[in-house]
């Protein structure tokens, strides 16, 4: 839990490195220490150099809300027999870097440990951000990134993935930076909610952390199975599910395998042949080919506008998004949530670089139109889940001029309706004038123009790239006539019908109707 220490004006956060044994946790932290010119401390290692308690490193730098940031970087011991220590350390995390061994042979075990983390989170570290550090990417049999994304997506993990080779330091800093951001986001939320603790952190040195762990631990050290077994009632309930039973079977298999591996550490390892403990998959997925909608894990440089866009993405991430395919092949999501997420059929790219080029081109078009289009929108390049990238635009649903007129015509007096029509015509003329400077053709209709932010704004979707240069434009009066005349004609027909029903055959009414039609 982040703590604000007023005695030294520091906010103290803890980043915990979790993962299976020999996945590269200690190597990652040591690489980090090299990168930051820091020093690591390991209280105890076994004869083979494996961590028994934790590795510890501190990094001080940067500021958070006026306070210096002190990062406590701690690894957990990976051995299953030391599961209680792992759980105790995870409980104190402000963000978790899960170091996963992505070699084909160790991949099942990585997934098992990751699933355990989900169980452990239920028991105390919920709402803590997790970064998946996909390690050992230099191995020839490493599982493909697309497969990793697919499997994590299938297991309903919405976590950022950073590829790494801890042995040479590649990707280590990126994963750490990502985790620090998550931890600071959490601290910021706690601060806003008045929950950020103030005072001296519970432990400020490896010696104090070691003492706390020893105190919390009744000898002999509880194993992972015991750690899971003594979990809260919520976990006990969860363990009755099919997925949890499967997890239990896998854990049992893993314990045996682990023990065998440790007994014969000199022998090369065989792949662990166990079923993956994936949670139940939703009964009716919208489509097997459905792309994953954008979420908060979108990498830096893949969203525009860079600052406001991320805020929008965080807001959108709180709603349940189910992408649906249209008959023309486009994808959309967000129906009924107040947000529209749309991706054109062809807006999918095989590489991040290609997608980013398209994103930048489109961002330039958006930037050139910022004075005309509604402000609550962004464009995002998001991983699809199958190794590709898809370009989305996210637009907040605003009240259109048509909504405005229809509301006025349904429940207002004639004078109010007249006001509403004047206001609408004024907005159309105003936007028409401003659209003259737009670098592309934006449709000017009652449905695409809204009255947000006290002025007329384009609230529709931006055209996809490449954009044709603006064509011949209608005059303002032609726009107003084309958009409002059908509404008035409909209204007139209603009026005619009402009058004719009230006084059929009345000469005066007939004359009035003739005048109205004229």
């Amino acid at each position: 839990m982040a703590v604000l220490d007023p005695s030294c004006n520091q906010v103290v956060i803890r980043i915990v490195y979790d993962g299976p044994p020999e996945a590269g946790k200690t190597t990652s932290v040591r690489a980090l220490a090299t990168s930051f010119a820091g020093v690591t401390s390991t209280p105890e290692e076994d004869a083979t150099g494996r961590t028994q308690w934790f590795d510890w490193m501190e990094y001080v730098g940067g500021r958070f809300e006026g306070s210096e940031i002190r990062c406590q970087i701690v690894t957990v011991p990976g051995q299953r027999a030391l599961g209680a220590r792992r759980r105790e350390l995870l409980r104190t995390a402000d963000a978790i870097v899960f170091v996963g061994d992505t070699s084909a042979a160790r991949w099942p075990r990585t997934l098992t440990y990751l699933e355990e983390l989900r169980q452990l989170r239920i028991d105390g570290v919920g709402a803590v951000g997790i970064v998946f550090q996909a390690n050992k990417r230099d191995l020839p049999d490493a599982v493909g990134v697309a497969d990793i994304r697919q499997q994590l997506g299938d297991a309903r993990w919405t976590i950022g993935i950073v590829e790494s080779v801890a042995a040479d330091g590649t990707g280590i800093r990126e994963a750490f930076v990502y985790a620090v951001r998550l931890a600071l986001d959490r601290a910021r939320d706690e601060l806003a909610a008045g929950r950020l603790k103030t005072g001296t952190p519970a432990q400020v040195s490896p010696a104090e952390l070691l003492a706390a762990l020893r105190a919390a631990e009744a000898p002999p050290a509880a194993s992972m199975e015991e750690a899971l077994a003594i979990a809260s009632p919520t976990v006990a309930t969860a363990l009755t599910s099919v997925a949890a039973n499967l997890l239990g079977d896998v854990l049992a298999a893993e314990v045996d395998r682990e023990w065998e591996l440790e007994a014969a550490s000199a022998e090369p390892e065989e792949p662990v042949r166990v079923a993956l403990p994936l949670p139940p998959i939703p009964a009716v997925p919208p489509s097997k080919l459905a792309p994953r909608p954008p979420d908060a894990s979108v990498p830096s440089g893949a969203i525009w506008p860079p600052v406001e866009g991320r805020t929008i993405l965080l807001e959108v991430a709180t709603v349940d998004l189910v992408p649906r395919r249209h008959t023309n092949g486009d994808w959309s999501a967000g129906l009924g949530t107040g947000w529209r997420l749309v991706s054109k059929r062809d807006a999918v790219f095989d590489s991040l670089d290609t997608g980013r080029n398209a994103l930048v081109q489109w961002a330039r078009l958006h930037a050139a139109c910022t004075l005309i289009v509604s402000p609550h929108r962004c464009i995002v390049l998001a991983a699809t889940g199958d190794g590709r990238w898809r370009l989305w635009q996210i637009v907040r649903a605003e009240e259109s001029l048509r909504d405005l007129v229809e509301r006025a015509s349904s429940d207002a007096e004639a004078a109010d309706l007249a006001d509403s029509l004047c206001q609408t015509a004024h907005a159309l003329v105003e936007v028409h004038a401003r659209l003259a400077d737009a670098p592309c053709d934006l449709p000017l209709t009652l449905d695409t123009i809204g009255a947000c932010d006290a002025s007329g704004m384009y609230i529709g979707l931006m055209p996809e790239m490449p954009v044709a240069p603006p064509g011949e434009r209608r005059s303002p009066s032609a726009v107003v006539e084309a958009e409002l005349a059908p509404l008035l004609v409909d209204r007139l027909r209603e009026l005619e019908g009402a009058l004719a029903r009230r006084a059929p055959g009345d000469a005066q009414v007939a004359a009035l109707l003739t005048n109205l039609r004229r």
Partner: protein, 122 residues
């Protein structure tokens, strides 16, 4: 436009040459988007800094147009209490934004190293 990897590789070289290197990014002027970045400071929100700095560059270019200055904008230097920030324009659409620790580096070194590596961003 160079790929993100090429951009990051170029920043790696700059970081190796520059004592006190903190963060750097290649930024699209029009949109403020980062095309590639490197940072050694986890608390430095480079994406946000790049976006805000693109506004500054756009305003400066606007001022130059308003003053009818018949020249080009080469770089912008900002001196903070403990940092030096340099914005160097790379072609008509992008700029490099670089932040270094002032106590470990000086402006001459920063400009020399940037000039040496600028070609990699074209």
């Amino acid at each position: 436009m160079p790929s993100e990897k090429q951009i990051v590789d170029a920043f790696e070289k700059i970081a190796a040459d520059l004592p006190g290197f903190m963060a750097a990014s290649l930024v699209d002027i029009e949109s403020g988007m980062t095309l590639g970045l490197k940072s050694v400071r986890p608390d430095f929100d480079l994406a946000a800094a790049s976006a805000y700095n693109s506004e500054m560059v756009k305003q400066k270019l606007k001022i130059m147009r308003a003053l009818n200055l018949k020249t080009h904008l080469e770089d912008m230097l900002l001196t903070l209490g403990d940092q030096i920030h340099v914005i160097k324009l790379i072609g008509p659409t992008t700029f490099v934004y670089l932040a270094v620790d002032r106590s470990q580096c000086n402006l001459a070194i920063v400009r020399t190293v940037l000039q040496k590596n600028a070609g990699a961003f074209l």
